[in-house]
């Protein structure tokens, strides 16, 4: 496992946004959207990043893509020539040669393709920008990419409106793969798609992963989707990483009460397996004004006095299983049932 080197090493990443008030837009505070997040992604690995809205998962992804400048922290990236670069402090000009190596798949397949450009132009633009000026070579490359993503190459001179949502998402994936990136960041790539199409796109990503040895950061709110694609899963809550482990461990033996509650809250498509429980009272804390101690304590059924005052650190319990909870060792939390076993266990 540790034999494969990491491709991305995010260390103590922070991103805060100013809160402005009044006529002169005076800064009155800050929202820590990403608050001390660290993780690595190995080459060829898929890391799922999950959490509810406002937890900072998209901000984390945008910092890695350097669509946003982090407030502090390091984003170490092993570039194609073997050098390790910290993306965090780089300027636009310095980032340019690295851009082809990190690409993104967007959530909205309708908004992310230029409607005035044909599919060939949409998918071929990253190639053109990166110096592939020969149109014939571009045509061949785009045809390959479309074939790779399950589209018909002869359709490349059509415009995006002629394609369905699922097909557009395939086009978006083809465009992301155009520059043969070392890292692909996918932010909610299937959440705007219909159920019957979601499965097709998930399958495509799974196939591409093994065929191209793709490294993927997969950001999503839907736990079942994340389970389907990820090798490891990171769970975020109010800007912090609360748990990080292999997919099997996160779903089978969660150590953080928030992860367990998330798993229990998912309604399972089986009327004979009651699920979708209210495991948590209250609502997600606001990142501008997080509670003292553990951010999760006001909603946590296991909170003690220590949880109310002392912020827990992210620690490693067992091999590679990171958790941010004071009581991780003593709690016995239920994961989701393995197929064939009766779901549901008391906790």
């Amino acid at each position: 496992m540790s034999a494969t080197p990491w491709l991305l090493d995010v260390r103590r990443l922070r991103k805060s946004f100013p809160i402005r008030r009044g006529w002169n837009r005076k800064v009155v505070g800050a929202v820590a959207a990403v608050d001390d997040v660290s993780f690595t992604i190995r080459e060829g690995e898929t890391l799922g990043l999950v959490g509810e809205s406002g937890c900072g998962k998209t901000t984390t992804a945008r910092c890695i893509l350097r669509a946003l400048a982090p407030t502090s922290g390091e984003i170490l990236f092993r570039s194609a020539d073997g050098r390790v670069v910290d993306l965090a402090p780089l300027s636009r000009a310095e980032l340019r040669p690295l851009r082809p190596q990190i690409q993104m798949v967007f959530q909205d397949p309708f908004g992310s393709l230029n409607p005035r450009m044909t599919i060939f132009d949409n998918v071929g633009e990253p190639l053109l920008v990166n110096g592939l000026r020969d149109r014939r070579a571009r045509l061949a490359r785009v045809a390959d990419l479309l074939e790779l993503t399950g589209l018909r190459p002869e359709h490349m001179h059509r415009f995006p409106h002629a394609f369905s949502g699922g097909q557009r998402q395939r086009i978006g994936i083809a465009r992301a793969l155009a520059t043969a990136p070392r890292l692909v960041v996918a932010d909610e790539p299937v959440s705007a798609l219909d159920v019957s199409v979601q499965a097709q796109v998930l399958n495509l990503l799974l196939e591409l992963r093994s065929r191209l040895h793709l490294t993927l950061l997969f950001v999503a709110h839907d736990l079942s989707v994340v389970k389907h694609i990820s090798d490891r899963v990171a769970v975020m809550y109010v800007g912090q990483l609360v748990e990080l482990a292999t997919t099997e461990a996160i779903f089978g033996r969660p150590l953080h009460p928030y992860t367990a509650a998330l798993l229990r809250a998912v309604p399972v498509p089986d009327p004979l397996a009651p699920s979708g429980d209210v495991a948590l009272a209250g609502e997600v804390a606001h990142p501008a004004n997080p509670p003292a101690g553990c951010y999760f304590h006001p909603r946590c059924p296991f909170a003690t006095d220590a949880c109310r005052t002392e912020p827990p650190a992210l620690r490693e319990i067992g091999a590679g299983h990171l958790v941010r909870c004071h009581r991780a060792e003593e709690l016995v939390l239920a994961g989701v049932a393995e197929p064939g076993r009766t779901p549901r266990a008391a906790w």
Binding site: S196, A199, H228, F251, P267, P269, D270, P271, A279
Partner: protein, 344 residues
Amino acid sequence: MTPVLQVNDLRVHFFLDEGLVRAVDGVSFDVHEGQVVGIVGESGCGKSVTMKAILQIVEPPGRIVGGRILFQKDAAPPVDLARLSPRGAELRAIRGAEIALIPQEPMAAFSPVHSVGDQIIEALRLHERQWRPTGPRLSRAEARSMTVDLFRSVGISMPQERVDAYSWQLSGGLRQRAMIAMALSCRPRLLIADEPTTAIDVTTQAQILNLLRDLQRRHGTAIVFITHDLGVIAQMARYVVVMYLGRVMEQGPVEQIFHAPKHPYTRALLKSIPSVNVAPRTLLPTIAGSIPHPLGRPGGCPFHPRCPDAIPGVCAERVPALGPVGPSQLASCFLYHRDEAVEP
């Protein structure tokens, strides 16, 4: 027992410049008292248009072109909502009072310039004679205290203060709770919930679904629950209607639909959904192709181009009618009834 709502061969068509869109094309189902009926389907299946037709709020160029929507108000014979004038007094007395709606996006449903409490007080006083036929007129103060009670019953903390809040001051979960309070304020016989938790996070969704289940049990309100989420449907509905491109593919008790689906579409749909109970990193069985454009609807059975079991020369030619395939389970598929077609 007559059902609260009987939708019979409902047809809603949109007359666009580009052509005719048959958004709802022959939909039938019943809703009984105290029953939760789930309508599930992917985008373009007509589930939301069906809901709008029941309330007669289909926007032009859409129009109800056929079918009946029988609503049982009280002991009197049922009224056909499809025949009522959308702006008439009779329908306006039903909307909000007898049939209430919980919309998908409560942010858009509340007025931002009136407090949420005022909007509920207005509904209470406007529809007073529907939910309280006799007695003195309701005063503002009384209506306000009723609103506070409603807020408390839907689990809004500090209801006294929240009554005066504006919708944009509330979080998503609280806003949806306030919306539910408003929908229940006039004690409707039928509640239509249109994707009530789609815009909400999963832990809050669990709270809202639990609240709806609890209220349903307490008041015995019939609910039509519209969603694209099969997980939510399995946990909420007792009876399920599966729609595809404006037609009912299959309907039946929830256990039957999920454990003994008959229609190829229902079967394929259930297999294709990612679930937390499945082993990670496995390929999912998929439905080939994608949902056709509304203007390019295939003839015959709308699902036939994607159907693994399509019968050559049959499914592309004629439209199958809804017929029994099990105990109170119906499917519109030629695999089961070769001779029952809808006349063209």
